[in-house]
Every structure is written in structure tokens, then in C-alpha cells.
Amino acid sequence: MSERVVIDPVTRIEGHLRIEVLADDGQITDAWSQTTQFKGIEMVLRGRDPRDAWAFAQRICGVCTVVHAIASVRAVEDALDYPVPRAADTIRNLVLGSQMVQDHVIHFYHLHALDFVNVTTVPQADVDAAVAAAVALEPDYALNSAGRFQAVKDQVTRVLDSGQLSIFTNGYWDHPDYRLPPEVDLIAVSHYLDALVWQREMIRVNTIFGGKNPHPNFLVGGMASAINMDNELTINQVKLDQLQALVAGTLNFVRDVYLPDVVAILGAYPDYLDIGRSSASFLAIGKGGYNCSGYPSPPNGFVPGVMLDGELTVRELDLDRIKEFATSGWYRYPQEGIGLQPWDGETEPEYTGPTPPFDWLADDERYTWSKAPRYDGRAVQVGPMPRLLSAYVQGEAETRDDLDPLLRRLGARPEQLNSTAGRILARAVEAVQIARQLQVWLDDLVTAIRSGDDRTFNPDKWEKDTWPAQGKGVGFAEVARGTLSHWVRVEDGFVSNYQAVVPSTWNGCGRATGQLGPYEQALVPHPLLRPEQPLEPLRTIHSFDPCQSCGIHVLDVTGAEVAWSRVQ
């Protein structure tokens, strides 16, 4: 007899996610991914000045906070045929890249680690043994010290002894599948706290160019932060020196601490290389951080494309094959199963579920605020793992060099990246790659400034009277959680339609075309020892880094007539 199990709220994510499963004898036998929030930002965007659109779209999400703004300005610039100076491009890359590295680190330590790390064993940890283990693993990290670990141990002990557990209240601490020795738990908790300090520091790359984070400022036509080496209020040598320090500090932490921590922790959970396997179809238009106006053409010959049905070959992306379905979503759709091209798409909610409060949604065919995108009828995964796998399959040298030793060490095959552990590992490897790339971008910026190529804004198309009467555009970006695109139509100087096509829609969607969405596939089958303590499925859901406020936004791409003539 199957038992109905509901996980709501799924915590340590962005937005609101509910998971309903059927469980039988320690195994999940069916699963439903349900996004339980809708905001309607695309509807708010209609009729606005397209130069303002980024500031609205950015508020889709405050965790990935940079990505919707970048996709938005890219889409508007495509619609207005508005070229951007090289320095502004580089600055955007620095802002997006630094935010992605930060996002990955926060995801691992603050949103995911407590699925594997038991904070309640910390009082039993032997500090000297922990130091020895940590130093062996991460010799270059200064805070793997007895003083630091003792301080953290005492701190945690005090919180636990007080009986007021704060964020640790009601955790599944007596679950038998917490496997790490107390010393590793102590190391991880110590790095959890260190990572909080680190992320506050390194995100100032965003502040230098965008004035603040969360929600830094952007600008259609460039970036607002002017460069003048001889002024104290602009990007000058002091700021460049600061950037250099921040970029170096960013790489140090992810290379010396985050990635080794991930490898060490996964070493205790090797079965998760075979748990959480989801759809074997993947989409990636570039490496992490790539962003563009119009059709993607990433650097270094990376082929934007898909891998389908477990085949480890990359086929060039064919946008005609992307369709979206409202089969399981609460949306009004003129003709079920036939999508609309994004420039013409619509976001019209139509709630047909029970009036809250409710206990169970999965009896209805429609159960989520997410639509269901499909590529050639398949549910596909997006994110760091598909990006890395695509680069690996394409033979990209950096990715081969990074991944091969790690796969050997974990005894894993490349296709096992399609797993809970694989998604976690890929995210950490990607963080190191992007952190390296930050230095490349910063060097590019300095080189540009040196050669006098220091314009950050192109004024030529700023005024409305320079715009076409009608224009449509798309902006793409490979962001923390996967492939993002924004689609805009501009008429007579105003936004006439706006659609965001978002990673968590791909990953977190529900059923369509006879297939479960990727979260759902990853959970069927799946271990679940204690239905009242759904620790194991949380590990797998968190491995996708859910961002459900993003996921509610819709994709409306038709099969037949994608008008690519402008952008190709």
C-alpha cells in the first residue's frame, strides 16, 4: 500500500516548492513537482519603457539577482539593434561571473550541506583530528586551524546546549543516513561560517560596477559605471586594484576549499552517483556565464546544443524543436499542446486547483504554476552538469583536465554525472572554472583600458526616435541554474510583449508529452527510509538548486515558425 508523502515547504531553496510523492517500502514510486507561487511579472512589463525592463525582470529572483537583468538588457539591445561597447560586455561578464561563483558556494554550504552534514555531532568532534584531516585535504587554507575549529565547536555546542536551536530546529539529526564523522561535520560547519564571510567580501565586484548587491544596476546600451583613471568617483586604478584582490580571493576559496569539501563529502555518499538519475537529455548553449544578444555563438567553438536520450554527442540547437505545454500547469492555453513563439507568447494564469488550504494536489492533472518545456518531446536538464557534460563531450581541454582526475578519484563514469552527486560535483567544478575566467575578463578590461577602448556606454540608440517602430529580440545567458533567455517585442517605444524562459522551468516542471519533469524523474525511483524525515529526496531535489520564483516564468516556443532571420 503506497503512502502519500508531502514535502512542503521544501526549504533551503529560492521560492516556493512542494513535492508530493507516493512511497512504498522505503522507495518512492511516483512524484509530482509543484511550484506554488506566481507573480506575473511579464504581465506587469507590458507597456513599459524597454530601457526600464531590466529593473522589473531582475526582481524575478533575488538569489540569481544579476541574471534576469543581463538577459533583459541583451534582449532589448537585440530588439533595438543596439551594439554595446567591448568594455561594457566585459564588465557584465565580471558581474555575472562573480555572482555565479557566489551563488554556487551559497548553494552548497548554506542551502545543501545540511542534507549531508549533521551539525549535532560537532560537539563530539576531536579538534586536532579535524585540523589534521582538513590540512591534509586543503593545505592552502589558513582557517583550517585549531583555534578556528575550537571556536566553531564551542559555538555550535553552546547553541545546541541552550535548547534554542534556531535554524537547526527540528532537523532530521537522528536520521541514520548521516554518514560523516564528527570531525568532517565540524570542518563543514566551520566552512559554512567562513563561506558567509567570503561571499560578503567577493560580491563587491557587483558593487563596484552595479552599486549594490542584491539587485545591482544595469543599463541598456552598456554599463553606467564610467571609466576614468584620473577621477576618484569612477572606475579608476583603486577600483581595478580592489577587483584584482576580489577576483583572487574568489578563486582561492572555491579552488582551495569548496571543491575539496565537495569531493570529500561525496566520498562518503558514493551511492548518490547512482541515485537521482534524471532525464538523459541535456541542453547547454555555452559554458557557465556565457551571455549574448540573439542566437548564441559561444567562444572557442563550443557548440550550443542538446544531447538526447543518453547519447553523448552534441547536436546543434534547433529552436524549432522546443515546445511548451500547459498539461500540468495552471495556465490558459488556446490550443493544448501547441505553443506560441516567445515573442508572441502569453502568460495568462488560470487556477483550477483547490482553494487553500489543501492537503494533496496530485489527483488533478494540473498541479503547478510551472509550464512544461520539451525539446523534441523530451524533458531535458539544464544547469552546471549539462554544461560541463557538453563541454566534456565536445573535448574541451579545461573541462577534461578538471573532470578526469575527479571522476577517477570517485570511481565514476562521465554519464554518472547525471545523478545527485554528479550535479553537486559539476557545480563545484564549474565554480572553479568561472573563478579562473574572472581573471581573464579582468585582464581583458585592463587591456581595453590601456588601449584607450574604455567606453562603457553607446549613446547612439538611447533616444526613442532612433528606434525601429517595431522590433523583437532575445537575450541568452548560461546562468547558475541553467539556460536562460528573455524574449521581448518593442512597438512604438514600449514593450508590447515580454517572456522569460527560465532554467527552473526546464528542471522543475511537471508532466507533459507522457514524460515526468526532471525533478520528478530524479525521484522515481528513489530511497526514502522514513517518510516523516524525507532526507534522501531533499538531497536530490537540492542537487538541482531549485529557484522556483524563476521557474514560474513561462516558455512559449512554437514548433513551426521560429523567425530567426534577424538574429542569425
Partner: protein, 409 residues
Amino acid sequence: MIIPDGDLWVVGEETLGEHLDRRGISRRSFLQFCAGVAGVLATGPLAAGRAHATLSADAIADSLSSMTKPVLVWLQLQECTGCMESVLRSGATTVEELILNLVSMDYNELLMAAAGTAADEALAAANAQDHILVVNGSVPRKEGGAYTTIAGRSAEAILLESAERATAVFAVGACAHWGCVQASRPNPTGAVGVDAVVTDKPVVNVAGCPPVPEVITASLVYTLVNGSPPPVDGQGRPLFAYGDRIHDFCPKRGRFDAGQFVRTFDDDAARSGYCLYEVGCRGPDTFAPCPILRWNLAQDWPIGAGHPCIGCTEVGFYDRFTPFYEVLPNLRTPGTGVEADATTVGLVGLAAVGLGVAAHAGATALQERRASRAAEKVFLPLVGDVPTRERPLGSGAPEPASTPEEDQR
């Protein structure tokens, strides 16, 4: 950061002062921590009586000394999580200090370990006792609340449950304040702010999209220290942070007064750091502490980085202040009416102050609770972390590169 010691102070057995002495912690180093808190709180308005905002480090130290750990319920309703991310960035009172030392944050979906039923039970347990309530996110009222549900209940139901025994209510961020982007024209989900739902007790609106991190944490610390929330303006915004216009403390104000304006981005004026008023700056209409506190360990702030203020601490800014890059109406020419108009805005804000303060006279439950607990035996891990700071908090100085201080192997 976290510098503990297993020797707990037990309320009732010794005073905090005795406890600190016994542990060899000087009042001076404790005061360093308190001075940092005072630094943030002291950014308040010029006009509206500084008294409330200029608590001395001594006063704060005295007050913290008598504190127990209050329970904190931190809801996230219809929102983007940017406000919690902002809290993670706070460099004065840090998030780790807040949730491990100052309060017991028994419910917060972004950070809590528990999920599902276990999380919902933690919420119910916290709601059943006196607690401080912080809310991020708006409440969508259309479709019976189906536009945001948590544990099968509507955002409105969750909010009302949590507000019932709340001793203080903070609406943090523009969504909780008035609905923000989703409440802008045409407001598809019927989103409203917290004070449209919680009408039987005062709501403090920590404004901004998101608010400056240190303002969020300082609003809470202020309440812990004083036993009641900070005085507010007519919109419920704490005066220590929202008492003055950006325009009045803008380092580019001299350029404004001299008529030195950026005409288009990256022009010679932009490259000289001139005033952004003519490319749409909303600073003259916006009450916020950004030019004083700045963002991300005081690295910089929007206008400092060359982009005009979009006025995100003001109600309705997505409708009132757009198009963002057009000059503010009625403020076109410096020296001829600008100040008259902008000052009018200012006076409206200040006139409402008295009302806001009066409303807060009712929020004394926290103090009563504190008094009732004083006789109990309560563990208080608060102070262990306090004295080891290397520098005053909120001083604006960045923390040392990635790190706390010990390095003894």
C-alpha cells in the same frame, strides 16, 4: 565572527558583568561591539529628534546585558528571496551573529535545516509563543490566495497565524512593505503589503528592494536593545534609516547645486562623477540611508557607481518613478523650485512621525515578556561572541580578507 567559549552565562546566577569579568572579557571590548551597533543606528534624520537614534554604546551594552534569546519567525511569502540574500551580506551585525547569538530563528525557509512537516511544526511551535515576526514578500489575495501557498495554506493564512502572538512585526523589503513589482500595474495577483493584512498591531516597514543589509539587522537589534521597535515615519519606516532624503546626503549634491549634470551616460560629466539628476535620479524624492551606509561592506552605492537612484524605498516606485531615465517631474531646474518641491515631500514624511511613534506605544509586549523571563533560569550564549571583534562594527571598514582572526594550528 563566532568566538565562543563553552562557559555559559546563566541568567539569575550572576550578572552579565560578573560573568564577563570571570571570563576575562573587558567591558571595553564588549563596548566595541555595541559601538558598532550604535554606528548604524546613528544615521538617522537631522530633523526628527536624534534622541532615539543616538543610543550610546554604553546604553546598548547595558541593555544587551539583560537580554534572553527571543524567538524569531522569518517568513518569506510572495517574493524573490533578495531580502534574505541582503541579510546574508550584512557586515555590521552579521547573519551568523543574529541567528546563532542574538535570536533563535526557529523558522526561515531559506536557511532552516528542517523541511516539510518538520518545518511546519517548527513554525507552529514558534507561533505558539511570543516571538518577533519578520516578513519578506507580499500577500497575493486573488484566487483565494492560490498565487502563493506554503504547506498547502495561503500566504495570508500563514501571515495571520504568525502575527497573532508576534510582539513586533517587521515588513522587510518592498514586497512586504507595499507589494513591489508584482503589485505594480496591473497587479495580476492582487498583491498587498503586510500592513494591509496585519491591521491590529503596528508594522515596521524596512523599506527597499532590497533594504540595505545593515538596516535590516539594525532594526532588529534596536528592538532587542530597546524592547520596542524603532520610531517610524508616516509609512512605518524606521527614522534612523529613512529620515533623510538621498539628495540631502548625496556626495554629488555640490554638483547638483552647481548645475553640473551628466547629460548622457559615459559623457565627460559622467567621467567626472557629476550629478545624475538629469538622467533620471530619484534621489530628491527618496528617503534612504544609501549615501551614508552604502552597500556591501560600504564598498559603494548605486549613485556612486554611476547609475541614478530608482527610488526603491518609496511606495509604488515602479509606477510612480518610471520611466526611470526621465527627469523627475517638477524638479527640472536647480535653484528654481527644486528645493521647494523636494522639501514639501520631506515635510509630509516628517509630519507623520508623531503618529508612528504613538502607534508603537502599544508594542510593549516584548518588554513584558523580558521581565517575566528575568526570574527564570535561561542560558544566554549572546555575549561569548561579542568582545572579540577586532574593530567596531558598522564602522564601514571591510572585514579582513575572508576571515576571522585565529590562525593557530
